[in-house]
Amino acid sequence: MIVADKKPIDEIIKEIENYGKILILGCNECVTVCEAGGKKEVGILASALRMYFLNQGKDVKIDEVTLERQCDHEYLEEIRDRVDKYEAIVSLACGVGVQFTAEKYHAMPVYPGVNTCFLGVTEKRGLWTERCQACGKCMLAKTAGICPVSRCAKRLLNGPCGGSTKGKCEISKEVDCAWQLIVDRLKALGKIGDYENIIPLKDWSTDRAGGPRKVAREDVQL
């Protein structure tokens, strides 16, 4: 999923303090799972903002809506009939949802309420970690199912570097060395000999480097 984290409320207030009618727009997908932008977080942020504006002696109307998704036209259409009632939207979706909402409602100011962090997993409640950087050309088949692009601090395709110590990365004792994990799993798979295959220069044109990407599938287009 796309993992996001809450923005500090002060940062959100700075963006919206001059509006009188604000919609807090949640998303029922990834940001709900990572507890940053679902219905619950929409409620918490809305309450905190109401309290803040009340203390400031300001009369600000704050409403709450959580859509099934903010990355699909059909769900974003659900607010079309009432969106004109507001002067601004704070979207608690990932950066994708914030942008799609802004595209859909062209003249409506839309502000992000979360920081979109990475593609990752829930390791345990309250702990999410990165697994993928969407490079567009998956090489997990060559690296024992562990991604050096997203999990090595230097994205070394032929690691580990000389900084790997006791299974940890040179940047922090809290971070696993991706290549230690790869070596361990190659062993578990009985494929440690594969370690010596040199992974060639990567074609990064499918990565961010190639510019904005799209997937166009004629077979499923209506």
Binding site: L156, G159, G162, L201
Partner: protein
């Protein structure tokens, strides 16, 4: 004898002499005389001088400019190049820049992570890794072509090296990793600083068992310790560094004013011992901001005078 490059370092190694290299870090500014002064301290005692490339990710005068300066002094530089800061366009471009000034040695590295340096908020590039940089230089030299396939007018003629750290984890792939670097094109290896000689000798044995010592020149890396504090720092704070307790104890046992002397003594003893290890073909003495001690170390290990080659 048939040489692949005009490198003096290659000639010395090919002739069967122990090679001696050292390294100098460029200054934090544009006064290039600092590097001239450092080089002058060691030039008669080493065969080639590595110039580090923004080591520990701290911004410095560029390695290439410093290498050119050494070349203009008639010295033999080893251009260190990390993949952290340049994409494949810039890497190839800098290789050509070096080739234009007849810099004949290069060391391919990935580089320390930028979080250690003075621009921790910067991006890192790592378009290539050190292994792929080796492949790139060899491709440019041996095929005379760019990565993009075009012909290079006057291709680089570099003797190509890589680093190896026998002390990083996981230990079991340290020799396979060396084999990989050789397969990628490494012709010489400069190792991480060696304090744990037993472990280094084990690594050497493991690589000899695979015959790798006949495929690459291994230069053992040494950094003399200046103080017990430095020994402890290296042991505890520098990733991938293995400083055994008895080395720390020995340094600490010396009175403070005698500790530099003790550090030099340990370095000399280490070289004496490593000279006997089959497959060690030379020494890379990294006297960090202590270049003036290099001559003493070289003279006291029977490595002076340096051989002359054409």
């Amino acid at each position: 004898m048939n040489f692949k490059t005009p490198s003096k370092l290659e000639k010395i190694l090919a002739a069967g002499h122990f090679a001696v290299t050292s390294e100098c870090g460029p200054p934090r500014g544009s006064n290039i005389e600092h590097i001239v002064n450092k080089a002058n301290l060691i030039k008669d005692h080493v065969d080639a001088i590595n110039i580090t490339d923004n080591q520990t990710s701290v911004t410095r005068l560029c390695s290439l400019a410093a290498c050119i300066r050494l070349k203009l002094m008639g010295l033999e530089p080893v251009l260190q190049m990390v993949t952290r800061d340049r994409n494949r366009i810039a890497l190839q471009s800098d290789i050509l820049g070096a080739a234009a000034f007849d810099i004949f040695n290069m060391l391919c590295l990935s580089g320390d992570h930028q979080s250690f340096g003075d621009c921790a908020q910067g991006q890192n590039v790592h378009d290539l890794d050190s292994m792929q940089l080796l492949q790139t230089v060899r491709h440019m030299r041996d095929e005379g072509k760019f990565l993009g396939g075009g012909d290079i007018d006057r291709p680089p003629r570099m003797f190509v090296g890589a680093a190896a750290n026998p002390f990083a984890d996981p230990f079991e792939i340290r020799v396979p990793r060396l084999a990989k670097k050789i397969a990628a094109g490494a012709e010489f290896i400069q190792t991480q600083c060696i304090y744990n000689l037993d472990k280094f000798e084990l690594w050497m044995k493991m690589l000899r068992d695979r015959g790798l010592h006949e495929k690459v020149y291994i230069l053992a890396g040494l950094t003399p310790l200046k103080s017990a504090g430095m020994a402890k720092y290296m042991k505890n704070r520098v990733p991938g560094m293995d400083v055994p307790d008895d080395v720390v104890k020995r340094m600490a046992a010396a009175p403070k004013e005698k500790q530099p002397e003790e550090g030099i003594k340990i370095c000399i003893e280490s070289i004496q011992r490593l000279k006997e290890v089959e497959g060690v073909k030379g020494f890379h003495i990294m006297a960090i901001e202590w270049e003036e001690k290099v001559p003493e170390i070289v003279e006291n290990t029977g490595l002076y005078p340096r051989p002359k080659v054409d």
